[in-house]
Symmetry: C2
Subunit: 577 residues, 2 copies
Amino acid sequence: MRIDQALPALEWLRGYSRESLINDGLAALVVTIMLIPQSLAYALLAGLPAEMGLYASILPLIAYALFGSSRTLSVGPVAVASLMTASAVGAVASQGVVDYASAATLLALLGGLMLIAMGLLKFGFVSHFLSHPVVSGFITASAIIIALGQLGPLLGIGLKGATLPSLVHDLYTRLAEAHGLTFAVGAGSVAFLLLARYRLHDWLTGIGLGGRTAELLVRSAPVLVMAVLIPLSAVANFQSAGVPLVGQIPSGLPAFSTPNISWPLIQELALPAFLIALIGFIESVSVGKTLGAKRRQRLDPDQELIGLGAANTAAAFSGGFPVTGGFSRSVVNFEAGADTQMASVLAALGIGLAAIFLTPMLYFLPKAVLAATIMVAVISLIDFDTITLARRYRTADFSAVVITIAITLLAGVEIGVLAGVGASVGLHLYHTSRPHFAVVGQLADTEHYRNVERHSVVTDPHILSMRIDESLYFANAAYLEEMVFAQVALREHLAHVVLMCPAVNAIDLSALEALKEINNGLIESGVKLHLSEVKGPVMDALQRSDFLSHLSGEVFLSHHGAVTALRAKGTADPAQT
Amino acid sequence: MRIDQALPALEWLRGYSRESLINDGLAALVVTIMLIPQSLAYALLAGLPAEMGLYASILPLIAYALFGSSRTLSVGPVAVASLMTASAVGAVASQGVVDYASAATLLALLGGLMLIAMGLLKFGFVSHFLSHPVVSGFITASAIIIALGQLGPLLGIGLKGATLPSLVHDLYTRLAEAHGLTFAVGAGSVAFLLLARYRLHDWLTGIGLGGRTAELLVRSAPVLVMAVLIPLSAVANFQSAGVPLVGQIPSGLPAFSTPNISWPLIQELALPAFLIALIGFIESVSVGKTLGAKRRQRLDPDQELIGLGAANTAAAFSGGFPVTGGFSRSVVNFEAGADTQMASVLAALGIGLAAIFLTPMLYFLPKAVLAATIMVAVISLIDFDTITLARRYRTADFSAVVITIAITLLAGVEIGVLAGVGASVGLHLYHTSRPHFAVVGQLADTEHYRNVERHSVVTDPHILSMRIDESLYFANAAYLEEMVFAQVALREHLAHVVLMCPAVNAIDLSALEALKEINNGLIESGVKLHLSEVKGPVMDALQRSDFLSHLSGEVFLSHHGAVTALRAKGTADPAQT
């Protein structure tokens, strides 16, 4: 049983049918065709040699197939992780300590090991701290930066910037250097790809093709562009016309290699590696869940961590760079009919064959074509819906998404995602820093107590009953203190304050200190503090502190019991005379 | 009225009595005597010339007297802020960009302006994010670092370290260089000060002195040490014996000066300035509240921000460094009978006179005496009580205090306090990431629904009723999703899930996405999702989203209403056949 849990692949490998093989083989073919341009393009986006994209699409696919829990997720290089890789690797490589490729490989290794560790420790919950507005805003901003950055290769100029202002500045100063033919190739490719995406499907079904066949043809548009432009580039000698080409790519499979490991480099790359891994994991799980739900297949987040961790570790040992489950390729894989991860194994085989036999042909491929592929791909990542929804729905969510987008655009991907998390957490704490509370009174002739502002209830001038509707912790402790004293100040003949705690699930140490302050403050005003309806675990904790021995009043099981008892001794209390 | 609010001093200045003047004058005398050695010592602790300590105890006191809201708080240099200043200033000064003094002055200016801005914006709540365990742990660790660091001047050796490991390493390697006479002076002072603190009071009251007089004599022990050792040092020629002395201090009042402002320096110092200001504010408010409560004087946190901001800005323009309300000096001021902030104004006058007339005498003061003063003062900051209480009380609080202490000791003050805040917030989110929920059933013959695990209740095989006991937000949204599907998987004949939401005060966008996923997932299983007892504001927000139009079921006002309606149409539902 234990090996079954560790290797989810065993489940589908057992009793693997010929029918599944046919389905998986077909899907693998389609995915391979789609992956070739994507892999090359994302490697260039990450600032790496094109072949690293192919390498990142072989062994990692097999590793995920063995350890991942989704049947149809397709892993490999993706746009956002490649941008983040470029940012992290650029920062260390510019210091001259290490070359780009080694840094990218180390980044994959670190991310992979972190993911595996998180999976083994069942730490998947860490990803919950990235709220939906932060993830959505971050991806939108990354897509904008990527799309703008691709204007560089599309125009045949170099753009160094990794933020909106620096990209705009670079574009503005270097626009005059734009290369006409390069731009014609790039813009032509963009136009064709856009047409293919938004029109081709309707046109193909219009001439009688099946919806699924049409869809798959649409998805292979990037390969079609390559198939036209590679021969054209060779024949028309684009190279001598000055069009930047992909050029020489080493043929063959990646060699097994150990990443260069150095402690200072690890320190520099640890945070970006963690962020890349986490964002990749969140995206992956989101895709995997969506696809899994359609076939009633459950996704296990902790196993996903291990699967993606294995994929990244495999990337690191075979000359690749950070990978994760991609949205578009997984959808293609699913729609092309993949039954199991055998499709990914076969796709890896396909990419391997491409790395051996196709690389000479790629020599003539203009880089602008790959830039066009990326640009059109990332447009779909821009998520205006969430922005619109957040604006209508809740100010805090809208603020979180706007802050994340703005800071990612202005300060880059790492600071952007960290600022987003900070804003998200900060806004949440701010919102819970004012606990709901209500002054309550007795509903006549019942044992129920309700908000005095909403119900017509009976109150006693000597007793203040306050119901606290939230757990008490550091961010709302000071507010509680203020509120109690403000309410006490309004009542002249007060002798007792009863805090009704049926909704208080926890009281942390800071809140305990605040309760002590309230107790001491009330003692000096001659008022006693009581608690009622304290939950079991909270009471246990209070008993472990010295609070109850200093409490001027009592702890009552029911609020009605408290009020009845205090009313009974009411006039006997000297504080009321 | 507006000027009254801006200048709290007007309140006590109006009708200021002769009796108050006598009380304040006496308190000022005692505080001045106490402040002289403290000011000098904390300036040296901050790595600054001794006279800056005096300068930081003149104008800032007057500024706080005008703008602060506490009647008895005494501001000036304090131990923890001085250590933080040393750390921040050391980091920039070691780069050679600027000298220590200019950086310290700029630190005071930045902190002062930040405090004023926070006060005007009513942003005092930011300080609530520093939980009690974090503040307590941070101060304990700082006190340990300060005490260890003072072993340097006490032994006559230089210690550069600002963390526990580096201090221990420095001590170990340089112990052989210790200077005998310096150590004798230092250790003697420490022994006398400890005796004074723990024995002198009993002894003085034993010989018939009043408790308060005894207390004040105890507090002036540091000045007594100075009064003995300055002449001794001069006569016995400590200087030629190699004992490090305070040496030449410029006589006179500080000149009005503008801090050196440069943008890169501001960027470097902004974070430490913010942390120093925030920690100082928290300490100040805590002292101010304690003293205020004894005389029923209310402290206004937002006004305190402005008062402390004014004090720091004044420090910056008169050659000082970051100041805040000190615990020991405020207690002394209070116990010496200060009525109003006039006591601080008079103490400022006293320090001003000292700066003019006493500085020549300070030439002969051994630095080891000041080190002894600091050591004995910071011992009382070590707060074992909170550690013990936290350990008994709650694991999360204990973890927060231990993490804060450990990281402050190992990595220094700035990283320490940031790690503490991170740990505190992270632990809180982790605790609320699993919302309380309960499967509920009907209490026979009532309209009440209770937890099926605790009560004997009636349930329907077609209906799953779940009560959610917490607000839904990003950190617990994924858990809710898991729980609902786990419960649904247990029930074969299910047709309806009703989420009962009387305790859900908010649903953020991430939780809304989770609800959509739950809705979609249930639709695919042929189960309808309903909500009941949704609070008004939550319902308003849901109506602004498109969730309700996609919801497969309905929203019911009461849970009983939901169950009754669903039971009625029960068998008519095709999903149940």
